[in-house]
Symmetry: C2
Subunit: 170 residues, 2 copies
């Protein structure tokens, strides 16, 4: 993938035996990076870290989620998420309410300001997605979404508190 | 995706209008997490951070990569990568050599110890991948790989030094 500008030793492994470029978990990680990086810069310009953008988009779809539900949805550890929600609360984007029937649970809601920002960023995100998908046929896109939903639908295990997020930079 | 154990307000958005669960960049990020997390725990048990595992696997395929080539391959910023390679050098997994024709460049090679560890972890990684793909048909897997390679093949821009990695936990 990298361009080579200087002579270099031959690869040790023959192309047909190369591992990483056909390893789906790696391809997914790399594709995830490619598909998210430009938009993440836009969200950052709007004052949102990547996890905060995912919280905002989750609450646009489905208000009143608990911290645990949000953690699974945005793929973050609870301590990280709790800090993100605190920042978003201070920025006037979300409000928190005790659950009506279970006082141990807090539910998170969008404010009007949060919803306005969500609507604006979702339009930007959709435009980014369209740009990324311009080289795929509609059939390929449909198949891709179905396959991804299949992979995610099989995943039912909760997110452990101490789990590192993939592609975390360390 | 989350199970709900208590009564809660209706979602604000009708299922057909939901954004996040059909947004490909999000689905990719989530699938990437699901596909990598169990293996990352195995690599960690072997003493490797996720980026170090990707370096090891890259060098297995293609020895003598420069830092810049490795940064694109493993999707990491150069300062992060430089630190990772320093750690791996101290652990006896890689060695560094000046490029034969361009002394400004350093090339990174596997040691015998690094190659032994790479071979062991690649077997584990392949087993993990097979487990993840058991619900997909061979045709779906082929189509998926082709689509991912298409997305990555279009991506030619270099990785800026200050760029955040997607799904980084902040």
């Amino acid at each position: 993938m990298a361009k080579r500008s200087t002579p270099r030793p031959a690869a040790r492994v023959a192309p047909d035996d190369a591992f990483l470029d056909r390893h789906l978990p790696y391809l997914f990680g790399h594709a995830s990076y490619v598909m998210n990086k430009d938009f993440d810069a836009r969200a950052k310009a709007a004052g949102l870290a990547p996890v905060e953008w995912r919280v905002l988009a989750s609450l646009y779809d489905d208000e009143g989620l608990t911290i645990g539900e949000l953690a699974r949805k945005v793929v973050a550890r609870q301590p990280t998420l709790t800090k993100a929600i605190k920042r978003m609360h201070e920025a006037g984007l979300v409000r928190r309410e005790d659950d009506a029937t279970d006082l141990r649970k807090t539910r998170v809601y969008q404010t009007r300001r949060g919803r306005t920002l969500a609507l604006r960023l979702i339009e930007v995100a959709k435009a980014h997605e369209a740009q990324l998908l311009q080289w795929l046929t509609p059939g390929e896109i449909t198949a891709l979404k179905r396959t991804l939903q299949e992979i995610l639908g099989r995943e039912r295990s909760p997110l452990p508190d101490d789990h590192e997020i993939v592609m975390k930079d360390a």
